[in-house]
């Protein structure tokens, strides 16, 4: 059932499977169709996102009013919220699981999983992924890991609570924190399965992009979305196995008495036998994934943005080759900067110098990307659809968050703001909010492709964007200030230090903005669910886009195109291109030239 890029027309017509009898189970549950799998990823990701964001609302409530009692704690947290007082251990559990869910389950699987699956076959002109079966396995492993992660919230001693970075020895010793018992075991099992899922997915994406491009779709004609997904998958394959090794070694330390990460520990009144291990080793292994992970989250969002900004500006993306080059440069650099998370971990200061150097280098391709986005807007004819607004918002938060990265990447400056709220503000803007905006932009833009022509309500989309945009800056801009005041992160309450008393009102402001932004997500949820069933059907190519997915059938069929696979004759960004004598667009009266249109007589060929 796989599609072949090199042969075409005759054989495919009867080959693909829409005439197969599909049962409910093969169509909606164990589906091997990339479009259905993409929807499964999205809906699972959104479900996890609801949990993750709800957790952040709970701990923001605690941070703003630590001495007040809230009945909601008792309702949602049970014994850990007795009498409306949040228990310190559940506070740590909330921040831990919030981080884990948002980074891995929402922004890795929910973003990359959804859009890689949806767009790779559709935009390169393939009938499906290289292996539909592996693709299905990948989703179901992700589903299983989600179920285990949610289950871990209900174990008696509480879920994992050593921070999402699960540094040992804290994560290895149930004596040190209750969450490091069964909760941590489930966390590790869940993540191990998640990594397997991610690897299967990534390998599939790589193979598909390399082998199944349709005739004429050279690598330099790929839309930037595909470049981003392709490179993201490569980073994933390179770095996720290292996290798996860290998780396995930690499992060994926890359950089988080894000492990879443990040495010289006296806890709960007794000396442990472990000797010779090093927690710093774990930090190296963790961040060898952990930092590329930032780009695994961010690159797909940037790819989606590139596509949406070009389409809605009615202009080619500025500097296509520079954009591809910066994706590759970011991907390469992302694997050699992990040590900037460890400047003060006790590793050799010389290593700190090296990592400062490589880290600040990343600013160069990032700056190129930001400038290219801005130039793409310049002299455009901007169609300010919700997807476009989210993309512009992404560029904004990417710049703001990226700039503070120049401070944190500098080892000397990192000393005093390491692990303070300055860091929290930085990474939420640059990867959290930016990637979420990318996710939303993608959902608004490709919703018609996912749900057979139905479109999201634009007015609700506008409300969603503006309230979220104001809320996000309202939360994370003031957060830099409490970080610069020296406030450490992961403190259950700041009242133990009178020195921080004057930060209390800033925390209240942050929490209020967080609730406003959180409420805006309800608007999105309503819009998503109602549009899924009752959304207005739009035209086949609603955004007047050049890419191949809009030539595919609106109704989902297995194999995507009812007839032969389309051939590609040009890159994806011929928007507003004029004919030779500049009297009209290349295609008269139409400001876009789909990739399937051959080179016209009155057109100059350009070499991008």
């Amino acid at each position: 059932m796989s599609a072949h890029a090199h042969d075409h027309v005759e054989d495919h017509h009867d080959d693909h499977g829409h005439h197969h009898k599909e049962t409910f189970v093969t169509k909606y549950i164990f589906s091997q169709d990339h479009k259905m799998i993409s929807k499964q990823y999205l809906i699972t990701g959104l479900f996890m996102g609801i949990i993750g964001i709800a957790m952040s609302m709970l701990f923001r409530l605690q941070l703003a009013w630590p001495d007040k009692q809230f009945g909601i704690y008792e309702i949602l947290l049970g014994k850990w919220g007795a009498d409306g007082i949040m228990d310190p251990s559940v506070y740590l559990a909330l921040v831990t699981i919030h981080g884990t869910i948002m980074v891995f389950f929402v922004l890795t699987a929910g973003l990359s999983g959804t859009f890689s699956n949806l767009l790779i076959p559709l935009q390169i002109g393939a009938r499906d992924m290289a292996s539909g079966f592996l693709n299905m396995i990948s989703y179901w492993l992700f589903f299983l890991s989600s179920v285990i992660m949610v289950m871990s919230l209900f174990v008696e001693a509480g879920p994992a609570s050593a921070g999402w970075t699960i540094y040992p020895p804290l994560s290895a010793l149930p004596q040190a924190i209750p969450g490091s018992g069964a909760g941590m075991t489930l966390w590790l099992v869940s993540m191990a399965i998640f990594i397997a899922s991610s690897l299967l997915g990534s390998l599939n994406y790589i193979v598909t992009v390399i082998n199944l491009r349709t005739k004429g779709m050279s690598m330099t004609r790929l839309p930037l979305t595909i470049w981003a997904f392709f490179v993201t998958a490569i980073i994933g394959v390179v770095s996720f196995p290292v996290l798996l090794s860290a998780a396995l070694l930690l499992i060994m330390d926890r359950s089988f008495g080894t000492s990879f990460f443990l040495s010289d520990i006296y806890v709960a009144g007794e000396v442990l036998h472990n000797q010779g291990g090093s927690p710093v080793l774990f930090e190296h292994l963790f961040w060898f994934l952990g930092h590329p992970e930032v780009y695994i989250v961010l690159l797909p969002a940037l790819g989606i943005t590139s596509e949406i900004i070009a389409t809605n500006s009615r202009k080619p993306i500025f500097g296509y080759r520079a954009m591809v080059a910066s994706i590759l440069a970011i991907a390469f650099l992302s694997t050699i900067v992990w040590g900037h998370h460890m400047f003060i971990s006790g590793m050799n200061p010389f290593l700190g110098s090296v990592f400062t150097f490589t880290t600040l280098l990343i600013a160069i391709p990032s700056a190129v990307k930001a400038f290219n986005y801005i130039t793409t807007l310049w002299k455009g004819n901007l169609q300010l659809n919700p997807a476009m607004l989210f993309s512009i918002g992404l560029v904004s938060t990417f710049i703001t968050g990226g700039l503070t990265g120049i401070i944190l990447g500098d080892s000397a400056l990192d000393i005093n703001v390491h692990d303070t709220y300055f860091v929290v503000a930085h990474f939420h803007l640059v990867m959290g909010i930016s990637a979420l905006y990318g996710l939303f932009a993608g959902v608004y833009h490709w919703f018609p492709k996912m749900f057979e022509g139905r479109m999201l309500n634009k007015n609700l989309g506008y409300i969603h964007f503006w309230v979220t945009a104001i809320g996000a800056y309202g939360v994370f801009f003031p957060m830099h200030f409490i970080g610069m005041a020296g406030l450490p992160r992961r403190y259950y309450t700041n009242t133990a230090f009178p020195y921080f008393d004057d930060l209390a009102n800033i925390n209240v402001v942050i929490t209020i903005f967080a609730f406003i932004a959180g409420a805006a997500q309800l608007v999105f949820l309503y819009n998503f669910i109602s549009s899924m069933f009752f959304g207005k059907k739009g035209p086949k190519n609603p955004w007047k886009s050049n890419t191949l997915e809009w030539t595919a059938e609106v109704k989902h069929i297995h194999g995507n195109w009812d007839g032969p696979i389309p051939h590609v004759h040009r890159w994806a960004y011929d928007y507003s291109k004029l004919n030779k004598d500049e009297s009209d667009y290349v295609v008269p009266g139409q400001d876009f030239v789909p990739q399937t249109v051959p080179l016209q007589d009155n057109e100059e060929e350009m070499n991008h």
């Binding site: 400062t356 455009g380 710049i399």
Partner: protein, 353 residues
């Protein structure tokens, strides 16, 4: 049972909305297919909102600085901290300039080029010169920052230890700190958690001659103007010794000894007279007084007034009481320090008791 009923009501409610939506939809008939795509009216409105949004971001930045820049840490109380603050200021000015310009361009272009039916976008795909310019400018600026940063970093981390350097061990455990001084010989005795027994809570090797005059305290006193080398140990999990006023931080790692050195330059007494600190303490005490009134009205005890002190915090998640793992730091004149240390019991004396 109530839970079941609640779930049932929610499900029925959902079904009702679903059915109503269906009826609503059927009654409407076929409508314009482009209704959910931005038209000129939308472009105009959201172009203007983009412009207002960038003004909102500027206003937020301005308001935050005007209102909250008084919460920042006061001037650095250590020698190297002055360099860090200088580098910080330069970096901050740089990122503010870049941020203000790029955000403006982004949202102003969103406003200026908002779509109109009559408008034609300019086909503009490449310009090698432009791209070269905005590659090379960040390269130059970052090269400057990297070099400056690396010099500062190397200066801080590669301290040379001479006879004058005072050696202090910071010992972290769930959820408190201890400081161990080398005593008269300024040499710390060997220690390992395996030797923890009874009153010897830091696991110091009592047979080591260097250990006999070691002094263990739970309040860190430092003489002003003298370089201190901190040797950090942890008993159980990762901790991080964070001394924000001295721009100093280093993780405490079980199984290894980490170190950080700095020279305190301002005594606690002097810092209390710093205008920024005076203002901050006053604001904190106003807040505490207001909170106390509420507490007293509820029959609770009032909060104590706050007086400025340097502090050591734990800044690496370490367990349930992570938020309250602190130690007071006192920087004082050499004489005051000598008088204080003389009163402390040495390890040999403490273990004898």
């Amino acid at each position: 049972m109530t839970a079941f009923l609640v779930v049932l009501v929610i499900i029925l409610f959902g079904v009702a909305i679903w059915q109503m939506g269906k009826i609503f939809q059927l009654s409407k008939g076929k409508s314009d297919t482009t209704s959910q795509i931005a038209n000129d009216k939308d472009n105009n409105l959201h172009g203007w909102l983009s412009l207002m949004f960038v003004l909102f971001v500027y206003a937020l930045a301005f308001y935050s600085h005007w209102k909250w820049s008084n919460v920042f840490l006061p001037q650095s109380a250590s020698e190297h901290g002055v360099d860090i603050d200088q580098l910080w200021l330069i970096s901050m000015v740089l990122i503010f300039v870049v941020g203000i310009i790029t955000q403006w361009l982004l949202f102003y272009f969103s406003f200026k080029y908002r779509g109109k039916k009559t408008q034609r976008a300019t086909f503009y795909a490449d310009n090698d010169k432009l791209e070269f310019i905005w590659t090379i400018i960040p390269v130059i600026v970052l090269a400057g920052l990297i070099i400056y940063g690396l010099f500062t970093w190397t200066d801080i981390m590669n301290f040379d230890e001479d006879e004058d350097t005072m050696v202090v061990e910071l010992y972290a455990y769930q959820f408190d700190w201890r400081a161990r001084y080398g005593g008269n010989d300024n040499v710390l005795g060997e220690a390992n958690v395996r030797l923890i027994e009874g009153a010897n809570t830091l696991g110091v090797d009592t047979s080591d001659p260097n250990a006999q005059d070691d002094i263990i305290v739970n309040e860190l006193h430092l003489p002003v103007g003298k370089k201190v080398l901190f040797k950090m140990r942890s008993q159980d999990v990762l901790h991080s010794a964070y001394m924000p006023h001295f721009r100093a931080q280093m993780n405490c790692v079980p199984g290894m000894i980490t170190q950080f050195a700095f020279t305190p330059t301002i005594t606690t007494e002097e810092m209390r007279l710093d205008p920024e600190v005076i203002g901050k303490v006053q604001r904190i005490n106003d807040i505490r007084r207001a909170n106390s009134e509420k507490l007293v009205a509820n029959g609770d005890e009032a909060l104590e007034p706050y007086e400025f002190d340097y502090m050591l915090l734990c800044n690496k998640i370490c367990g349930n009481n992570h938020y309250n793992m602190q130690m007071k730091i006192v920087v004082e004149s050499e004489e005051e320090y000598n008088a204080w240390i003389k009163e402390q019991a040495t390890l040999a004396e403490a273990l004898k008791q």
